[in-house]
Amino acid sequence: MKSHVWRPLYVVIAIIAGLLLFREFYVPDTFGSGEYGFMYSYHNLENQEVWKNQPLKYQDTGKQKMHEYCGECHGDVVDIRTEDLHGIIPCENCHGPALEHPDEPELLVVNRERGVCLRCHTLLPYTTSERKRIPGINPNEHNVDEACVDCHDPHNPRLEDM
């Protein structure tokens, strides 16, 4: 007569087999490792494409390629500002991401809040940082209730041209 001692083992084997079968259907075939081996790169290889296909929001190439995207239509404005101090600031920092502009949105809303300017022009007494080269004001004292752009031209901030 067969020994009954092995019966729990049969149950265990059945459960494991069931799990493995379930795994067969559940786990995508694309699981694998890349160049960095199992330790660092075990994953669903298709996921990389998901990240590659995220939508672009900032379209302009910044100052690296001299505002290629924005310059196509707004060349005159780009020309003014690249010569000037604020030429180093990408258009989309203040105008917002272009997204699909000019199709969608048709019009970009410009942020005219003081906060945009204060990012660089708050007076911080840090002589060991590049901040020392940027003119700064105390936001609690300098024309508190007015927008910066009421007096200063953000595209040409030179004080003598005001």
Binding site: F31, G34, E35, Y36, G37, F38, M39, Y40, S41, Y42, H43, N44, N47, Q48, V50, W51, K52, N53, Q54, P55, L56, K57, Y58, D60, T61, G62, K63, Q64, I88, I89, P90, E92, N93, G96, P97, G115, L118, R119, C120, T122, L123, L124, P125, Y126, T127, T128, S129, E130, R131, I134, P139
Partner: protein
């Protein structure tokens, strides 16, 4: 046997077949360049030119859909202020999403804001931070399900459809780069804007920086000017002691920056 060879052999012996040899070749970047001519992304941050405007944080949050009102960020800027009476103050209000528009330093919810006399300010500077996309990332090593991983071109990504949200990788990261995405409820972190760099565009933060404090390069391209800086200048990395081999290099790194 040279010390380097000895170290290398030891590591190989320990890691066995699970680690490809190419992952161990990172002691001398020059040597790697010759052996591996493809793509490997690296980041260069110049702490001297950063002024703490926070445009990078804003651009990152916009580009990658991290809600502005959520107090987490894929990249952030830290302010370090050392006073002449030998005190050290550090803050990063809202991850510097709106820059540093106050000379008072944020000390947290209990202690409020610290006003520092301008005459008392000694050394002060800004340090941008982001995921270091380490060569031996502790975070991908500890993921129990293979939801976070290193791509062949050196980027550490997270599979949002597979992450179980255990938070082990968040704990394992020595740099605090990881957090839970408030909408997707899975772990999130900087991707070096993978959708941009793979289309020959620069990352949102590099693009937004008016001062050139952030740069990116393919460290295998020896003719890239940024690669040249990393290879030839004296650059440092954060928290070298953890052995994760960060791929974000810093110019002007102070020891107090951790």
């Amino acid at each position: 046997m040279k010390r380097r060879d000895f170290l290398k052999n030891t590591i190989v012996a320990i890691a066995g077949a699970s680690v490809p040899l190419s992952a161990l070749e990172f002691i001398d970047p020059q040597e790697v360049l010759a052996a591996n001519p493809d793509i490997h992304w690296a980041f260069l941050i110049n702490t001297h030119t950063c002024v703490g405007c926070g445009f990078c944080v804003k651009a990152c949050k916009t580009e990658n859909d991290i809600p502005f009102e959520a107090n987490v960020s894929r990249t952030w800027v830290e302010r370090y202020v050392f006073t002449k009476d030998d005190r050290r103050y550090i803050d990063s209000p809202k991850a510097a999403l709106y820059g540093f528009t106050d000379s008072k330093v944020d000390l947290g919810e209990h202690l409020g804001f610290k006003d520092i006399e301008p005459e008392n300010v000694g050394k002060a500077f800004f340090v941008p931070k982001l995921c270091n996309h380490c060569e031996a990332p502790a975070c991908t090593q500890v993921c129990p399900v293979g939801a976070t991983y290193k791509t062949d071109d050196g980027i550490v990504l997270i599979d949002r459809s597979w992450c179980i949200g255990c938070g082990y990788c968040v704990m394992a990261c020595p740099f605090g780069a990881r957090f839970f995405h408030p909408v997707h409820n899975v772990v999130d972190k900087c991707t070096f804007c993978y959708h941009r760099i793979t289309k020959d565009l620069e990352t949102a933060c590099v693009n937004a920086c008016p001062f050139g404090a952030r740069k990116m390069c393919n460290i295998r391209d020896i003719n890239d000017p940024i690669t040249k800086i990393i290879l030839n200048d004296r650059v440092g990395v954060l928290k070298d002691e953890f052995g994760t081999k960060p791929q974000a290099f810093y110019i002007g790194l102070a020891t107090e920056v951790r």
